[in-house]
């Protein structure tokens, strides 16, 4: 059974609202439906440039692994992305994709695996079929397996040389120690070294079924034609049940932790991580706005705290990553090694007070409002700009939509921006109180090698 609803705004966030408003006089530009085999499909016309972006999200990630299969999901993603498909070998297939102007990639994280593809609009139908073959008809070649193990080793080494990436990786491992999110996406090396084609297939194949996936296609096509392509190309995949995986919610961090490592760098990096709302937590939007206020945009609060009179930092950034069963907020400060201790103290002191902060002009008496910065209004405007900017890329949008379809479990009323607009200053204080003020944290300092600091 296929139904259509009219959707004119960013579908990744409007999907629930669209369900409330079926049918309209003008032809629809978006459609959401589920194929008989269980594959969720979301299509949206976007005619700004002659491009189409498509993404397939699969409910398969690091969360599904054990110690014995650590890194398997990521390795499997490599095998599909760079393997042979249909009747072509790997190199011929990659060359053929380039000949059609197709750029493709894939990513694995703790929750999901995502295959992404961008192509000239005229190649949309062909590319859609290629994506299906890549994922569902890929053959696992033992020679490719050994080659990709070496490539993944290079990938790991590359990330270990990058302090910004390494910091987040280690903070996440500590923050979720004992939880499936505490395992590294790339594995610990041992399990991958012993991986075989049979082992990979046994681990991944049961999870690689249409009912465990969501496909999103956004670009310069007509809805009817694209729906026909999707049904023809993907409708024949067999229906099957995926194994049920229950990942417990991460909950609160019970114990703070600190770590220091050294790299051959000149500037030091301080990372502070907190557990944060999960993807379906009702405080997700409030926490997201709070992160904007604290650590991004033109002059975030933590910038004033760290770079004010004491000049403790050169650069400050705070980010928030909501996952299905937990979330992570990370403050990244670039600073001099001698200032690390003072910077930590300043952050601790500030975060202790942030749950009683006045974020909006509404928090003070009318006569005082002239002199108060409207942090909340500023963050809402930033998010509105970011939303508009993000929607410009068909690939970004298709990836976000496919992931949303698998991660979201909460019926949401209204559009994303409407919901952002509803967040109040008290919501921010509540979120700060629950997740930041006085909460346990994980601290990591990355400093220059002894004797190598300038």
């Amino acid at each position: 059974m296929i139904s259509h609803w009219r959707m004119g705004l960013p579908v990744c966030f409007l999907l629930p609202m669209a369900l409330l408003f079926p049918a309209a006089a003008e032809p629809p530009t978006s459609a959401y439906f589920t194929l008989d085999n269980g594959l969720q499909v979301l299509l949206q016309e976007k005619h700004d440039l002659p491009l189409t972006g498509m993404a397939l999200a699969i409910d398969l990630g690091t969360k599904d692994e054990s110690e014995a299969t650590s890194g398997y999901a990521h390795l499997f993603e490599h095998m599909l992305l760079f393997g042979s498909g249909g009747s072509m070998d790997s190199e011929a297939r990659l060359a053929e994709l380039r000949r059609h102007g197709v750029a493709h990639n894939a990513h694995t994280d703790h929750d999901l695996m995502t295959f992404e593809l961008s192509c000239p609009a005229a190649e949309s139908a062909w590319a859609l079929e290629q994506m299906r073959q890549t994922v569902f008809s890929g053959q696992l070649d033992p020679r490719l397996l050994e080659s990709e193990k070496r490539v993944i080793n290079e990938e790991i080494l590359q990330l270990r040389d990058d302090p910004a990436f390494l910091g987040r990786l280690l903070v996440m491992e500590q923050l979720f120690a004992g939880h499936p999110y505490g395992r590294p996406v790339y594995g610990d090396g041992r399990a991958i070294a012993g991986a075989t084609v049979e082992g990979l297939r046994a681990f991944c194949a049961p999870r690689l079924v249409p009912g465990n996936c969501a496909l999103s296609v956004i670009g310069d096509f007509t809805l009817a034609a694209m729906e026909e392509h999707v049904r023809r190309s993907w409708g024949g995949l067999a229906k099957a049940a995926a194994p049920a995986v229950v990942v417990p919610l991460a909950g609160r961090l019970e114990k703070s932790g600190e770590q220091q490592i050294s790299l051959d760098i000149q500037e030091s990096h301080l990372f502070i991580g907190w557990r944060a709302p999960d993807f379906n937590d009702e405080q997700r939007l409030a926490f997201s706005l709070l992160t904007h206020i604290l650590g991004s945009g033109l002059n975030p609060l933590l910038n004033s705290v760290m770079r004010g009179n004491r000049q403790l930092a050169d650069r400050v950034n705070m980010s928030y990553m909501p996952l299905r069963s937990g979330g992570m907020a990370v403050l990244h400060v670039t600073l001099k090694e001698k200032d690390i201790r003072a910077a930590k103290g300043e952050v601790a002191s500030f975060m202790g007070r942030v749950s009683s902060f006045n974020f909006s002009k509404e928090d003070v008496l009318p006569r005082d409002r002239m002199h108060v910065l409207d942090f909340l209004g500023s963050a809402k405007n930033q998010m509105e700009y970011g939303n508009g900017s993000f929607r410009e890329s068909t690939l970004n949008l298709s990836v976000a939509c496919s992931r949303y379809l698998l991660l979201n479990r909460t019926p949401v009323q209204g559009s994303y921006l409407e919901n952002v607009d509803k967040v109040s200053s008290s919501d921010l204080r509540r979120a700060a109180g629950k997740f930041l003020s006085g909460r346990k944290w994980v601290v990591l300092a990355i400093t220059p090698l002894p004797g190598k600091a300038p």
């Binding site: 440039l49 994709l97 000949r99 961008s118 070496r150 080494l157 790299l263 500023s378 690939l395």
Partner: protein, 447 residues
């Protein structure tokens, strides 16, 4: 003398024009990057390119000033950056508060030949955002206190530049080819140059470069032309009139050493080969962009066998620095330190084969298909699209090249591409660079 067309026939054709089939109308216009922009000149002489994009209620303005590393006077590396950054130092609390309230933001990129200020705003707040920023940029407060604070920031940026091997590679190669001046000037200066730069130098650079005739503005917005044109004229009209300064002659290129190596205690070694390409003009830019894409952009590029057969690296890259007087192409990968010699040999072998054998007809068609789609992908968002148009106009190639890129690329013939390859990619022209542990140490640490 050409015969003049009959007036009646011209009027008839004009009257029929709206009725022409879309295909014919499309064939007449080669623009293929969103709506066709309009270009106009403000009273003060600033070139403005305006594109309407109704897909989101946001506006991006890219302000390009012809003045980059290459324009730093000898011994004053960092002056272009310091001057541009001073113009973005908010002098009044009220201005900062307005920009913050509106969620507006800005950023700065200084390159070899130009400085680019990116302004982002919700369209409903564009007028005030431009008012605050154009006000600051056109009349920066050049005080010792501010200059001192910015020099501290630049010292931090110097370190960040060294900490990132990709940036260190570009910086090292520019200095290798061009010395300490011109494109080789340190973008964020060094202790000696920062000591030399004072208010006088900054004022002189500002007066010479931050004049309307030396600037290009590209604005992409959902606002209609009637609304936005007067707004732009009012706000960007604040910049003083004035023409382009005389170009600084490029210092003589230095013969590069046989091998460049920078020691770093890292797990991987960055292995690169770089080559100077010709000066920047429309044809050369298209050929170089096609070469960059064909060689090392995306999965399955010509460099790909180093990964698929040799497992030498996770990523393989070709990156073009489109400097006006000499484009620079860097080809690089990162590999486990103990494999750096093998990676360098393989990279040299592959590039030598490419220089020798050139490209075949099927390869060229594939390269064009990928490069065209990739250009659209890269310019799908208005921020990057506006930056591309600003760069092309600022470099004298015309902003129109952005919309005609695909069509112009299609016209490149196999012979033309191969002549370019063989002329510029000869093995003796490549300069190798490695950033990582010394080879002996890498071998020891991996035993």
């Amino acid at each position: 003398m050409k015969p003049r067309p009959p007036v009646l026939l011209v009027l008839l054709l004009l009257a029929l024009r709206p009725a022409l089939p879309a295909a014919i109308a499309d064939a007449a216009s080669a623009w293929r990057l969103g709506a066709e922009p309009r270009a106009f000149t403000l009273d003060n002489g600033m070139t403005v390119i305006l594109q309407q994009d109704a897909s989101a209620p946001i506006t991006v303005a890219q302000l390009l000033v012809r003045g980059g590393d290459n324009d730093d006077p000898p011994g004053c590396g960092g002056l272009a950056y310091l001057t541009a950054r001073l113009g973005l130092e908010i002098t009044e609390q009220a201005g900062l508060q307005q920009l913050m309230d509106f969620g507006s933001s800005f950023s700065l990129a200084v390159m070899g030949d130009y400085s680019l200020v990116t302004i982002r705003s919700l369209s409903r707040h564009l007028d005030t955002t431009l008012d605050v920023l154009a006000g600051m940029m056109s009349e920066p407060l050049i005080s010792d206190l501010r200059v001192g604070a910015l020099k501290d920031l630049m010292r931090h940026l110097q370190k960040m530049e060294v900490d990132d091997p990709d940036t260190l590679m570009v910086k090292t190669l520019a200095a290798t080819y061009f010395g300490a001046n011109g494109y080789g000037a340190a973008r964020y200066g060094d202790e000696a140059s920062l000591a030399r730069i004072g208010r006088k130098e900054i004022q002189s650079f500002f007066r010479g470069h931050y004049v309307a005739g030396n600037m290009v503005a590209v604005v992409i917005s959902d606002l209609d032309e009637e609304t936005i044109k007067p707004l732009i004229a009012r706000r960007l009209g604040k910049f003083p009139a004035g023409g382009r300064p005389l170009s600084r002659p490029l210092p003589p290129r230095r013969p590069p050493p046989a091998v460049l190596a920078i020691e770093r205690q890292t797990a991987q070694t960055l292995v690169s080969l770089s080559v100077l390409l010709p000066e920047l003009d429309g044809d050369n830019f298209l050929l170089a962009a096609l070469l960059e894409s064909w060689l090392g952009k995306g999965i399955g590029s010509r460099l790909w066998p180093l990964r698929s057969r040799g497992s030498l690296a996770y990523g393989l890259h070709a990156e073009l620095q489109p400097n006006r007087d000499a484009m620079l192409l860097n080809v690089y990968l990162k590999t486990e330190a103990r494999r750096s010699a093998e990676a360098q040999a393989e990279l040299e072998r592959l590039l030598a084969a490419i220089g020798r054998d050139g490209c075949d007809a099927a390869g060229l068609e594939s390269a064009k298909a990928y490069a065209k789609a990739d250009f659209w992908r890269e310019n799908e968002g208005r921020e990057r699209r506006a930056a591309t148009m600003a760069f092309l106009e600022g470099a004298g190639l015309s902003w129109r090249l952005a919309g005609e890129f695909a069509e112009r690329l299609d016209k490149i013939g196999l012979e033309e591409f191969n002549v370019f390859l063989r002329a510029w990619l000869a093995p003796e022209r490549w300069v190798p660079l490695q950033i990582g542990p010394p080879v002996e140490q890498a071998n020891l640490s991996n035993k």
